[in-house]
């Protein structure tokens, strides 16, 4: 069978075909995994897990040979001002020197316990290893982290009474 078309009809037919092909390509490519620009999604804010782990690791890892300043610097690098002050106030470096302590803290797991918006309490499970004797001691430590801008920072480990107060906070 022979179909005869006029020139105008031929042009219209070609344009329609081209349009259809373009539309099909535009619709089908994303489904086939083609390289098209994806819509940007909002990046989720990180939670305080890493800050809690990093802070506790710095706090519980001491080395008498590298000295107090190096230890404090490592804590303050991952801490809030308050966390830095906490380390400064409570550390008894005389005792570290007296016992020639070298210790290493390793985090095993961390569980979000309380979420108060800009403050989070993480229950961090980990072990402190005495590098001189190999003795290990560990357990769960409640840790407060605080969000400063887009960054979470270690604040301090919580006293029992402080944790109770936070638990009962509305």
């Amino acid at each position: 069978m022979e179909i005869k078309l006029s020139t105008i009809k031929k042009i219209l037919f070609v344009l329609l075909a081209v349009f259809a092909v373009i539309a099909a390509v535009r619709f089908a490519l994303p489904l086939l995994g083609g390289n098209v620009q994806a819509e940007t999604e909002p990046t989720p804010l990180p939670d305080g897990r890493d800050a809690a782990a990093a802070g506790l690791t710095a706090l519980f890892s001491v080395d008498v040979t590298t000295g107090y300043d190096a230890w404090l610097e490592s804590v303050c690098a991952v801490s809030t001002e308050n966390g830095c002050a906490f380390a400064e106030l409570f550390m008894n470096w005389d005792r570290v020197v007296e016992r020639k302590i070298r210790s290493e803290y390793r985090v095993q797991s961390a569980e979000l316990y309380l979420d108060k918006g800009d403050r989070q309490v993480w229950k961090v499970s980990g072990t402190t290893r005495n590098l001189n004797t190999g003795e290990e001691q560990g357990g769960v430590t409640p840790v407060l982290v605080v969000r400063e801008g887009d960054e979470w920072k270690f604040d301090h480990f919580l006293f029992d009474q402080e944790l109770q107060a936070l638990e009962s906070e509305p």
Binding site: F60, F86, S109, G139, F157, F159, A165, E169
Partner: protein
Amino acid sequence: MKRIVYTLILFVLLSVSVQPVQAGWGDFFDENGNLKPGVVDLGQQKVPADWMPDVPGWVPDWLYDGAATYHMYALPSGETVLLPSTTTLLFMAMNPKESGLFDSQGYIGKSLGFAAAGQFNDQKSFLANLFAAFGFEKAEQFADAAIRGENVWSFLSADTIRLFDIARKAIQQDRSVYMMMLLYGSCQNSPTGCPQALIDELKRRGNCPPALCPDGVPPGSRPTPDRVVQKCGAPSVTQGKISAAASKTAPNYALVTGQDPEKRGVDLQFSLTIEPTIYRYYTLEERKEINKHCVSPSGSIVELPPPIEQNCKAPNRYIEQEEEVEYCVLHERTFCEQARVLASASLKKSSRDWILNDLAQWYPGAALIRPDWNWRFATSQGCDASNTFRWTLVQEKVQIRDPGFYTMSLSGITSGTPVSQSRSFQIPAGEFDAYLMMTTIIK
């Protein structure tokens, strides 16, 4: 260097125009703030204190040991001046009654523009001033809560984020870790008690009053210490044995929480006993005795079996002589040694490994949830009539999350006694188990 700082702070403190209300200050420091001769400088004293906040037991003691820290000065009469460290003072303010802050008979403080001296007539305003000196915004609210004995941490929600920064700034501003001096009429009423170092020093000086020294022998009026030691033996201190026990009381087979729909949990019991500290000392005493003799005509003594007065026959002569005889008397004093105790239960390493390795193969994602437990507050504690300290804890329906074998232990630090120093302890006390029911296909 520290001594210079102390002298500096004392000078500054005493230069402040304050109204003295306690005669004792002048006995410690001269008008320039220097320590007067005769005052015993006991340096830093660390004392276990129940009112200091608690942390998990595995927090290293070089970071936090739960002890209150003071610099201590004392007079031979026992009057005491304490300079609490900044963090100790902060926690004292949060627990003013328990910490002995309100037992002080006077104070001098200059920190962040705060200077005062006097007695604790107005506890609230004193405490509010102290909190304000630290830099807290709701100082009066904190003072009210602390006096009512409430958990002050509950009121710190706004300030807690910068609590330690505030304390650090207070130190920097004061240029000393000591913001306040507290005066106590006797070391016995002070938070530190009377440390052994004080008693030793007063004994060395030979002027330890009877109130502080159990064998308080005023020099000169009684046999000298040398004579007592030479004839009667040296005094001795025997610290009481510390023993601990812990057990699971019910049920026989405890299940982990996830398989225990009734939340029965496990009942645990801990007990600690510290036997009394015994101080033994001798006193050389004199008494008059009647000596009975039988004397021959030549004047020599005739040895006879008793009763001499009947066996002594003529020509011998029976006589009675009154003589002063010295002898040693053994004295014993017992002291109760109290303790700050932490009861712990910890999943054994073998059980931890089993959960993380074996169980995790059967149940991917199996992990340790709460392998360690700590309890601080006793069900009952105190000294009995025999000066034995007993601490017991009954913890019911503990919701165990991780299956396996748990070791139970009791650790802590004692208060010491007037004749012995504090000591720390960690005693394995028992074991218990928590079960996990598993399904196995038997082929």
